[in-house]
Symmetry: C2
DNA sequence: CAATAATTTGCACGCGTGTGCAAAAATATC
DNA sequence: GATATTTTTGCACACGCGTGCAAATTATTG
């Protein structure tokens, strides 16, 4: 056994405080490359050597340095998740699923808070500086303009839009099939005999057609020849939704009041329920029914019991990792089908 | 102007696809070191050179590689946040504040989902492999046993417990002053004339004394000579809290019913309000009042209007960054004082 | 304008690992 | 038991940037 610095059993580089593969190599009596192979999954190494190395690593407290590995191999097993709109509780659910699935399959993630639209570019920059393998966008502020600017420069290996559809060609979109989901909701509304639905939309996203609102309104127009009213809330915020819906409805005479309010997501729907009860003094669902989208945890609360549409987040997250591990870079868009969760609100 | 590879204006290393400082250097007609200095804040570089470099970098689309920088300098400006209990909506609030403050001050963060207690060690390992500058623990599953094992091996530069007190010496704890907070709550309960409080605790954390529950019970015992009843919920979960509190209270004769339920946090309190109304058929606060802790967004909802204690999360997050930027490694524990937010639930 | 001080720039070496290939060792084949 | 085959191991070089120092340039002073 040779020792590179003339001392046997001592760390050769105590300056940084970290144990390196070289330290383990001398301790185990093998070369550094064998050490690193012991930590690689399908590496060409004998079982005996691997055991010897892992034992030495264990006692010395060595773990491979992923910065160096990434630098040398040019893939980091790191993704950046850019997320805005922390006010929406569904974000917490998505984060839980994503972190769980990603980590389970060997990926780490950076979380980047994207404050507002102008902040999108610096936020994307943060991801770029770490040379992440993919950048995942979750939120509403990433419009086509930002996306094209970002990808035109070829600065991103993979740019993934999660839980929102996008028609941008340089982008991979993993989302629920909004059209199918909205049609299922619309048919449910029809079949339960509601006659005067009202649609509460969220902030306008970039791609106007094929949106949930358009789909619902189209369906209703074709089915009954009646235009369904709608209003847009400028943010996915319960309080704001409550303000807007109560103002909208208190102006209407009672016989023009909707019998159900279909909301673009739960954040809005929960605010709507609050408004119906506490501002308008009406009952849910007896006077006005409510339907949401996402199935956030609060939907279970006996206060809300919100009927809503649940996205298959685990499937979507797993597919996301499939995309990460794929060498393809296009034609990876995929939509998923969720299911309507019927509770008492509609 | 020399060109290192004999070609002027062409990228010298097109293999990786990334633009390197060398590319910018040849484009700007300076050395690579001048390029990197242009991106360092207090570097010794002339204004003219910096402008020239930044222009070239802009057109070529160069941003410094933080993996390489970290490897060379042995500090990464990256922290890992280990978080369990994604069910608690307060976690989303904390994440928003932390990500905002950290990014604003030049730090990136890795998010690691710690599934359960046995998962703590692999989760910590994930942070170690990236050589993060600090590991921040937010959650309940990091008991003293885990902490000591983690730090005894000296594997972490800084181990920070955020929003929870800890007496572990190898650890930096940044939290609200639980004792002061609970006393403020207790005095409020007393001053509003409540006579029969009930304390609803969460899962048992490692350090038993000085906890919120102990503080409240001690206060009440000293003040009135009466022991205040309490029950513990094994998870910070609204539904579970509702189950347990309704079971506990439905067994009691009406004259032994508490007039206020003090909860260890909002997740429990919101469930308690649901239970009081929908399981027990009583009113809040007329029959039973409720107090929470954290001030999650839902407290604002007209359904809840929860009186609660708000932690100064922005101050705490900023102090966290102070700690990151400090060269000290001990004596950095700090507690903060929040404030009671009075609404209608108590 | 010369001499000195201050500022700016260039460079050798190191950070810890991956890649592809060749040498060495172990195993299989006749 | 000798050769062919497979498995395992070692190695030179590269990845992109930071550090500390010395050389070159610019600014200051009398």
């Amino acid at each position: 056994m040779k020792s590179e610095n003339g001392v046997i059993g001592l760390k050769s580089s105590p300056s940084t405080g970290y144990v390196t593969a070289d330290d383990v190599a001398t301790a185990a009596g093998v070369s550094r490359w064998t050490v690193n192979r012991a930590f690689k999954k399908d590496a060409s190494i004998s079982a005996a050597a691997r055991a010897k190395v892992l034992l030495a690593a264990e006692t010395l407290g060595y773990v491979p340095d992923l910065r160096a590995a990434s630098l040398a191999s040019d893939h980091s097993n790191l993704v950046a998740i850019l997320i805005d709109d922390f006010a929406n509780p569904h974000k917490l659910v998505m984060l839980e699923r994503l972190t769980r699935v990603l980590r389970g399959r060997g990926w780490d993630m950076m979380l980047v808070n994207t404050l507002d639209r102008d902040d999108a570019e610096p936020a994307l920059m943060n991801a770029r500086r770490r040379r992440v393998d993919a950048t995942i966008l979750i939120g509403i502020q990433f419009d086509d303009e930002v996306l094209e600017a970002a990808h035109k420069a070829q600065h991103f290996k993979k740019l993934i839009i999660f839980a929102r559809s996008s028609e941008n060609k340089d982008t991979i979109s993993i989302s629920v099939d909004d059209r199918a989901a909205t049609l299922e909701i619309a048919e449910y509304v029809r079949d339960r005999g509601y006659k005067a639905p009202f649609y509460l939309a969220g902030p306008r996203t970039s791609s106007a057609h094929l949106s949930r609102k358009e789909t619902f309104l189209d369906f209703w127009a074709k089915e009954f020849g009646v235009t369904c009213d709608s209003v847009a809330v400028p943010a996915y915020d319960s309080i704001l939704a409550a303000d807007i819906i109560s103002e909208t409805l208190s102006n209407k005479p009672e016989n023009q009041r909707p019998d159900i309010i279909v909301c673009e997501n739960d954040a809005l729907a929960l605010g709507v329920i609050d408004a119906i009860r506490h501002r308008l003094g009406l009952r849910v669902p007896d006077d006005i029914a409510v339907i949401g989208f996402d199935d956030v945890p609060q939907c279970e609360s006996p206060n809300y019991r919100l009927t809503t549409y649940r996205q298959p987040l685990m499937d979507m997250a797993n597919y996301l990792v499939d995309v990460l591990e794929s060498s393809e870079n296009s034609q990876l868009d995929k939509t998923f089908i969720g299911r309507l969760v019927v509770r008492e609100s509609a």
